[in-house]
Symmetry: C2
Subunit: 348 residues, 2 copies
């Protein structure tokens, strides 16, 4: 793990009962223990990490960034920030059916960040390393006059010959979704003290879903062998399905009445019917969105059972469209519930 | 390549003759062409990159971050920033004897960044992809209210069974250095309009050395089979040698009179003798620092010849020290020229 000396030194940290550790001290104290299990991490004392890739397997790679004030509400404790930063990457691996191997973290800490913050951040990583069987391989720490910025690059592996892509959906595929949808967006509102008509427990449930996504690794690994297209829902259901539609050149239909809502999500929609758009277009759910031929339905239901993961059929892919395929949301009475405008699925 | 929608939208960009592309447009227009050669990059249209690792080889991994205003002077054009961000990572691979395979870029753009900036940034990456035979595999773009922050994670491969580490130096090893030393630190001064006693051409030479490091990939691959310890000089010669000394538990001696200086560097030291400390402790040289037994000297000289890379013997490793090994700089008359104080080799 490297720590290039910044050109301008940050101002001295505020008074603390212990002398500040400095960057090398922080790496040795807080991050090196996270790399203990990785032979090639060299205790983070070398410039590079070394990885012996599993023979004959494909490596799956992803990098994702969390910027404080952009991707965070602002009240998140550092361990939760770390876990979310790791989990959004794990979720991408899950969508490709890969099992995680290790990760590198590039941490730009806002000026004046205390050692204790870094300690808690590393504690969060340690918890999720244990939960998901992944190890820190290396990283880089530096300072920034801007908000704390965390880029995690994760490596996974799969023994499959190919992985399900966004563009692999086929006409007539059924669309399936793990877990429940909308909790991420509703949880963001709850975390910002919204949804006052809900109980504190319901608000806490939703906020937790926003703060701490559950990467669907087991289900993802099983689904990869069965589905045609797959991705995780990070930008919102309709927007992400629009990626599948666009790259597969197929229209897509979502059945509003089939959408899996959590009990708290259902109550939120009863209290605030105007939030239906948030459920359809809000991000941060980190559930898996896959398409598969109707003949795969029974196998998908078995995967749901075996991995203890709710997986719901929510729609189907339509006809080929050479240009501008559309995503439509329709309810049981045939009414069009597709969200419109910039909150819809335009990614610009 | 993903582009998660930020929670807060940046203000609209300033008036431009073209409508702004947006993040997905930028990825498609500027970054997708950089991934053309990578089978697993899927034109950056999928969530993850896929890499088929070279059978039987070790993967070498590194992540490094550049923060504008911290690691940049501020006058760098975007293509130069991109090339430096890539090269500091290539330099780490070089030190481990790895050949580059591909990289991922996490780009947090300061609010209001224009499409043209991104276009030039991608142009710089394209130039260096061609020069160093490396391909974009994937990435992530987002916005930040802080300075533009670029984290590049690079993957390399080596068929060697092990790679030279910082902690692998042996007592009596000779210390060798590629290229010249101090140009990076002097170049930073030149880029900041210092070194007025030098000619414009000399200042431009040094500034170029600061802005555009030359990763020693060919020499590094050949040296890896011969040397015991290796790293690249990014934090300053004495500080980086102190890492080798610390992790190898050996004292180290540098012979001041043997240090390879560029003609402009030599003139700068004649005009400003007080800058000797900068040469010894300033960063950004990105030359290779290796240690090898005296019996390897002839092979190292042959590598220098074959790869057309100056490689100079600059000192030797001393005796084992269980605790606090020291780096000393001594000149031909035996005078101690070791830099002291916080500008020395304390990394805190």
């Amino acid at each position: 793990m490297a720590s290039r000396r910044p050109r301008k030194r940050p101002p001295a940290a505020a008074a603390s009962p212990h002398p500040p550790l400095g960057e090398f001290g922080r790496i040795a104290r807080f991050f090196a223990p996270l790399a203990k299990g990785a032979a090639g991490a060299a205790n983070l004392e070398d410039d590079c990490a070394v990885l012996k890739p599993p023979p004959g397997q494909l490596l799956v790679l992803k990098t994702d960034t969390i910027v404080d004030t952009i991707h965070l509400v602002g009240d998140e404790p550092p361990d939760l920030i770390a876990r979310k930063a790791l989990r959004v990457n794990l979720s991408d691996l899950a969508s490709k059916g890969a099992r995680p191997l290790g990760y590198l973290v590039a941490l730009s800490l806002t000026t004046g960040t205390q050692d204790h913050w870094v300690e808690l951040f590393a504690k969060g990583l340690a918890e999720d390393q244990k939960e998901f069987g992944v190890t820190l391989l290396g990283g880089d720490t530096t300072h920034t006059p801007g908000p704390t910025t965390i880029s995690i690059t994760i490596l996974g592996a799969t023994s499959a010959r190919s992985i399900p892509r966004r563009g692999d959906a086929e006409p007539g595929d059924e669309i399936w979704l793990t877990g429940t949808i909308g909790d991420g967006a509703l949880g963001l509102l709850a975390a910002r003290d919204g949804l006052a008509d809900l109980s504190p427990a319901q608000r806490a449930f939703l906020a937790d879903r926003y703060h701490l996504p559950q990467p669907r690794l087991q289900a993802g690994q099983a689904l990869a062998a069965v589905v045609n297209a797959a991705m995780d829902v990070s930008d919102g259901l309709v927007g992400d399905l629009a990626h599948i539609a666009k790259h597969s050149r197929l229209d897509a239909w979502i059945d509003w009445d089939e959408l899996p809502l959590s009990p708290a999500g259902r109550l939120a929609l009863q209290a605030y019917p105007g939030l239906a758009g948030e459920v359809l277009t809000g991000g941060d759910d980190y559930e898996l969105l896959v398409t598969a031929p109707p003949s795969a339905a029974r196998r998908i239901q078995k995967i749901a059972h075996d991995t203890d993961t709710p997986i719901t059929r929510i729609g189907r892919m339509g006809a080929r469209r050479a240009r501008a395929p559309k995503v439509r949301v329709v309810d049981g009475e045939g009414a069009d519930r597709t969200p419109r405008g910039p909150g819809g699925y335009r990614h610009a």
